[in-house]
Amino acid sequence: MTPVITETPTHVGKRIKRKEDPRMITGTATYLDDIKLPNMHFAAIVRSPYAAARIDRIDFAAALQLPGVVAVFTGADLDGVGNVPCGVSLPGLRIPDHSILAKGRVYFSGHPVAVVVATDPYLARDAAERVEVDYTPLPAVADPEKALEPGAPAVHPEWPDNVAFVHKQENGDIDQAFAEADVIVKQRMLQPRVVASPMEPRGAIGDYKSAEGALTLYSSTQIPHLLRSIAAAVLGVAEHKMRVVAPEVGGGFGCKADVYAEELLVCFLSRKLGFPIKWVESRREHFQACSQGRGHVDFYEIAARKDGTILGIRLKLIQDIGCHQQLLTSLIPTLSVLMLPGLYRCKTFRAEVVGAFTNCFPTDAYRGAGRPEATYGIERIVDILASELKMDAAAIRLKNFIEPQEFPFATGTGLIYDSGNYAGTLNNALDTIDYAALREEQLQLRAKGRLMGIGIATYGEICAFGPSPYTPAGGWESATVRIEPSGTVTVHTGISPHGQGEETTFAQIAADELGVSMDDVAIVHGDTAVVQYGIGTFGSRGTAVGGTSMFFAIEELKKKIVKFGAMLLDSDEVQFTAGRVVCGKTGNSVALAQIAAASYRALKLPPGTEPGLVATSFWEPTNFTFPFGAHIVVTEVDADTGEVKIIRYVAVDDCGKLINPLIVAGQIHGGVAQGIGQALYEQMVYDENGQILTGEYTDYALPKARNMPWIESSHTETPSPVNPLGVKGVGEAGAIGAPPAVVNSVMDALSHFGIRHLDMPLTPEKVWSAIQGARS
């Protein structure tokens, strides 16, 4: 008999449309607000209009009078529930009490003061308007630099200096580096707060069943398992009686890798009242009370030789903490320090991070979480250094890059860069954009009075979070792979995709490894009652850590498949290939479906083998991965209005091996859009009293389709040696490369005016004023 071995189509590396898209496009996906439970009630939160105030009196009698309003709770009623937790430990870290409703004092504009529960959400909102709160306003501070000045209003009276923590790290002899330098360049840079703005805002449903003492929390979250552990502890619920479900999640960008007062509040309310309670964040609340990104004041100093060799870098970083510690608030700026040297060989540095309390909602992870901030700083200061030395922006980077043969490369900050070819991606981008010709064109346009700029940014990032010693709550990931009796495949992954497309990319990997069709693979995630414990989705870890754990579970399964195949073929010389176990001697083969059926029917079992085909892997990575890339942006500045137009955007990214180039392109496009937003448009503005001035999208400028350039995206592929898939991660790359590339481009356009630096966002008025100032 001739063996029939079907040639399995390989899925990995192909542009395959997302399996998730049909349900989203047709509106049949179930998001948090689509969930309706029997007897569900609705919460509306009364929030403080002041950034700092004493609460003198709360009168909710009028709210309770409305028919359909069942209860009002304030901070005085919070029995049996702990504080919103901080997940970071740093020496000397100050962790303010963070109760889920304010107790006597409010610390930010939007602070929850009371909650109204009613039979429908409209009624709850109407009733919330009827809650009367008397406040005595207190002095507030919203600017992190001002918060650290002597005499500034104390956000927390017990810590009058407003210092949340001081974190120092250094390597090498930094003083000597600066003493030996031919040139030293210094620059203060602001990276304003930005709002995460996922399409779906936050939301949560608490459902407590008193008979069983069981609590289910539905939440639009990136971390269902961590949320379960934390919420169970804060609420005093046994963890095995608590279930967290992340339904379809419409984006997070890090702001949903957190644990919020509102998530704990709906659980508390459901336990108090005995029925399910839903709360859905309004956009106004998203601006008030969802963690925000960035919020840096950076003071960079760089020391170099005349030839451009970087000798040392000093950074003082003031991180706007906000008024509390959210889950990872104070961790984020320490990641910036790890990434401080970027792609450059220099190991000598000194960094000091000061966390400053302000009367604003806390900052926390936002797409890139610490790495975009670090990349912006180093890429701006290197550009400024180049112009000081009259060196070309590309040449200074090529001079300082770590070279391919130097990997694995130990940085001065304690990381081991896994692999890379930094000059390769930059040269690729320079060729794509025809850099030499562009510089020529720039000179010609400048002679005609036109302001064209060319901006280069190269970036590295820390992805695949991460080895557990360096990741709060552990950095491994889990997967259970089941071959069902029919031969189809179910994967339970501990990650929690919310737009990254892993139902598709994981199916591609599994289909190739098992020799089945992608349609025969289901990827299940997001429900702690179904999926084994996992860590979740953040820090570009989904495929690199979660995908790898699935890969190893499949490896384990393959051994069992081969044992059953050998038994069925009655041969020891077999191998598993293209979905079949094949006997090398006879050419006879048996398909995976037959093996699966035999393994569950269990008429006969291979020696020492249990029935069924299920394997679980908890995979602990040995290192982070380190993707990198080069973005080059051509802009033109309208000298009369200061308006910036992006003419070309070339992105060459290296995220290791590409599983699905279509999804990778989507990640790059989305990240670049957010990065352009940060560079040119977005800024959360508080006034000096901590009042929000950009509390709606009519004032907070997200990038629009009309603002987006055509993105010329391509890739180099340097596999990561850290995992067998060779993948590195791509979720944050665009948001890391874009801000410095765009700002460097605009600064290049203005360089002949002697304008050295402008802070993000580069609004038309800011750019025009700088040109006016330079001309006069």
Partner: protein, 285 residues
């Protein structure tokens, strides 16, 4: 965001609408692109909403002699795309096309925008440059006035309680004239920080007719008479355009907000004026 409870009415005739609107707690809904967001923020809390979109004669566009009569409930998209407006009043078509985004243009109406009198709306620049007229209807009948007189102040018009804007009338553009709307959008909202509409015509190579309308710059749209006067009889050299534009903000109190200071708005007004004039001149003749 959740608005307060209200009753919704969708009358089929103007008569019924006016009767419903005689209730002081009632407000007309004419697309809702401004009113609904205000209601969601509870900055507007009408008890009754009277939706005007089912009243057929508020939705027509027709030409009467040298005027185009546009029903109040004609959407921005219909104005942008109607062949009659595109050929006979291209300035208004271009202005409508610059409003918001496709969804807003498909829902928002010219009557709703005009009656709301947002100082940063796009239409006022064109309607002032066109010397448009507004038709108002109330319980006591119909009246008509110049748009310039209709516009009293920020969010304030000549509308009496219970009265509705029922139509906007704009002139058919003379052959040979050039028109242009130059807009500098606020990056978040897309409303103009400054928008300038220009209409020019040439006689024997010299500017014989000039109308310039400005929006977004101050508390209400205005006609830049000073700019117009400086243009008459000029050939339209770059220096002449710059000179004319230099007075566009003269005597007008500029608005200031987090997106544009008064000084910057004045700069934008001058730049937008020069650009609108330059583009109009190219099309004229």
């Amino acid at each position: 965001m959740i608005c307060q409870e209200f009753d919704y009415f969708a009358p089929a005739t103007l008569h019924d609408a006016l009767q419903l609107l005689s209730d002081p707690g009632a407000r007309a809904l004419a697309g809702g692109m401004s009113l609904v967001p205000l209601m969601k923020l509870r900055l507007a809390t009408p008890e009754k909403l009277v939706d005007l979109r089912h009243i057929p004669n508020l939705r027509s566009i027709r030409r009467k002699d040298s005027m185009i009569h546009i029903g109040a409930m004609v959407t921005h998209y219909e104005i942008e795309s109607a062949p009659l407006i595109g050929s006979d009043c291209p300035l208004l078509a271009a202005t409508a096309a610059a409003i918001g985004d496709v969804q807003i243009r498909n829902a928002g109406t010219i009557g709703g925008s005009v009656a709301h009198a947002d100082p940063a709306a796009d239409y006022p620049a064109a309607l002032l440059a066109l010397e448009a007229r507004v038709e108002l209807t109330g319980a006591s009948g119909e009246r008509e006035m110049a748009f310039e007189d209709f516009l009293i102040d920020t969010f304030t018009t000549a509308l009496e309680p219970g009265e509705l804007v029922t139509a906007i009338c704009v002139p058919v553009e003379e052959p040979g004239s050039g028109v242009f709307y130059q807009k500098h959008p606020q990056p978040a909202s897309g409303f103009p920080m400054v928008g300038v509409a220009a209409r020019l015509s040439l006689m024997d190579g010299l500017i014989g007719f000039a109308r310039v309308g400005v929006t977004g710059f101050s508390g209400k749209g205005y006609r830049a008479h000073g700019v117009e006067e400086r243009l008459i009889g000029k050939a339209g050299s770059e220096a002449e355009l710059l000179d004319a534009a230099s007075v566009v903000a003269e005597g007008v109190q500029a608005s200031a907000d987090i997106h544009a200071s008064a000084v910057y708005r004045a700069q934008l007004a001058r730049v937008a004026t020069v650009r609108a004039l330059r583009a109009s001149l190219l099309k004229a003749g």
